[in-house]
Symmetry: C2
DNA sequence: ATCAAATAGTCAATCGATTGCTCAAACAAA
DNA sequence: TTTGTTTGAGCAATCGATTGACTATTTGAT
């Protein structure tokens, strides 16, 4: 019941206004409001705090940040906002950023050219204290820019030689996918990966293959395509045109998995009667026909953790690679069944 | 072939550095680099420009903005990043923002409480020049905050008494949906709307009802639910439990439409043999079973236009409501057919 | 009563860039 | 030669907040 009596106008007031109203110096006001190592009479302190509340004072971020050389903003570079995988990651990052007192600048970068431009805007103009990179930086231009970056940066869901990263245990996802299919009785398995190959795809494949091998299965067929529903659609088509069809497929990513389901339907192959599919999870995977048995990965935790790491780096801690230690989890729905007789 | 000879370190240099190197005053450098009404010898100008290129100078955004009282940033408040409808809007906004030289601060606001907090951070701290609001502001707290906002703001895909908005012609979408179903021969129609009711839902319904009435159809059944796949799923379930079932349904939004398709499958009602569904379009609508016949609306154009309007307002132009004049367009896929015999 | 120390603040520089005003030198006109 | 105008560029204030150095007034100890 302290304030709130009258809802005051938005924070247009400056330190100077408060100082004038109370009759002290702006430096005094600043120090009082920031606990800045100063001794003031309780009376003065109260007058300042009250006035600050009355006018609903908020520090002018630009001025403050210019002085303290921090922006209170984080940037994130990502390739595709409409991709729910990124959206979930961004969400986690944004929540954590808010928690830690940052605002979030997001830049969707369609290609390496726009990447470089966005990067320049955010970093060279010193608009951010740290950068989360959710794109694969491959052009020399981008790599150089990032390597010589004056601000801390962390890759999320991507590993990179040129910086620290926060990822999940993709190999474990691959192993789990294989285990699921094998336990359902499948022996002819296939993998749908990405082209160009993402490191996530590569690790999931590695885990998948590892478990298949351990079970004594023949080498698995791999087919690749763009990371999109359409990519998965086309990929499964190709798989279904093979002389000897697989009965179980692991689609390395939810989008690709959804596309695969659509392709099966078009080809008249029933899931799971004719073909079992396991993929990574996401909300969309619940509403396919049939709903997808999928592996949940902690995307938003990954985003959140990226912010935590970045914040630590900003405060001078040594950067480190982190792998989120929440193990992948199988969500059983309806896309996996026994192989056809 | 001017620069690029050696790729220079990132923009750590300040005006002062350049001034020192060239042997002039910082104000001269500033004026030269900004075409700031000053006459200098060609020699001096060239020396400054060359040095600026050499050190890859970029103005320090904070310092510059503090002085000129503009941040070069826009904010956007939206409820759900993983919702592809918002993602598409944001994408359009972001592209246009880049075009216009802004960076974009995005805040996902789960509820009105976080809304208020995010709003404060962005606006009261003067981090942005303008705000795009993609959420429905209903709490008194939020409304007051926005009404007394010191920065220009525009609602996108939402109409509001407390500000200008950029929307699409939702009534036309509704009419087109009705026309599509009616022309396919349907007479028992239903509508799935939102709860709480969004203004978009309400307008789409109005257009839908208008055309139904004009065709002499009986009053249509409306059912509402949360704007999500799950909401559409539950809504269609309820519709299918009605004593007299509709044969054609208009789902006011893609997410809801996708949920409805899933519900139909679970109930064993075939689309389009037993039930026709038309909804709004989005990339996901292609990969349902069957693919959805849907109405495309210019979401990213809407986002882009919001930025254009905001930019105009920032430059002092009178705000105005705009309705994107790209008419909704029917994408014929497989979810609409003749009614069952 | 005297000196030291704590108390309560103020002063002024600073972050980096922008911009109105001033001013010296060069040049032209009278 | 004197006066007036241009050209070329520097000076200093400013945006709003932060912070180390410093001062003036009290209080306390001896």
């Amino acid at each position: 019941m302290t304030q709130k009596l009258r809802s005051t106008p938005p924070g247009r007031a400056t330190l100077k206004d408060i100082a004038r109203a109370v009759g002290v110096d702006v430096s005094t006001v600043s120090k009082v409001l920031n606990d800045g190592g100063i001794s003031v009479r309780e009376q003065t302190r109260k007058a300042i705090v009250d006035e600050a509340n009355r006018v609903n004072y908020r520090p002018h971020a630009l001025a403050r940040n210019l002085r303290i050389q921090r922006t209170g903003a984080l940037g994130i570079l990502l390739p595709d906002l409409t991709n729910p995988i990124y959206a979930a990651t961004v969400r986690g990052a944004m929540r954590q950023a808010e928690e830690a007192g940052y605002v979030m600048l997001v830049a969707e970068v369609a290609d390496e050219r726009t990447s470089a431009a966005a990067y320049l805007r955010l970093v060279s103009e010193r608009r951010i204290d740290g950068l989360i990179i959710a794109v694969t930086a491959q052009s020399k231009e981008m790599i150089d820019a990032i390597k010589s970056s004056p601000v801390p940066h962390v890759f999320v869901n991507r590993r990179s030689k040129i910086g620290r990263s926060v990822t999940v245990d993709d190999q474990a996802s691959g192993r789990l996918a294989a285990k699921t299919l094998i336990e359902a009785g499948h022996t002819r398995l296939a993998f749908i990966g990405s082209e160009p190959e993402l490191d996530t795809s590569q690790r999931r494949r590695a885990g998948f293959v590892e478990t298949c091998k351990a079970a004594g299965l023949p080498p698995i067929k791999t087919v690749v395509g763009p990371v999109s529903r359409r990519g998965g659609f086309d990929a499964l088509h190709r798989l279904l045109s093979e002389p000897v069809r697989p009965t179980g497929v692991f689609a390395f990513n939810m989008l690709v998995g959804i596309g695969a389901v659509a392709a099966a339907r078009v080809r008249g192959v029933r899931i799971p009667e004719d073909l079992s599919i396991v993929t990574l999870d996401g909300e969309d995977a619940i509403f396919t026909a049939p709903p997808l048995t999928a592996i949940a990965t902690p995307l938003s935790e990954m985003g959140a953790r990226a912010v935590v790491e970045l914040d630590a780096m900003i405060h001078g801690r040594e950067p480190q690679d982190v792998v989120i230690d929440i193990p992948p989890q199988l969500i059983v729905r309806e896309s996996v069944g026994p192989p056809p007789a």
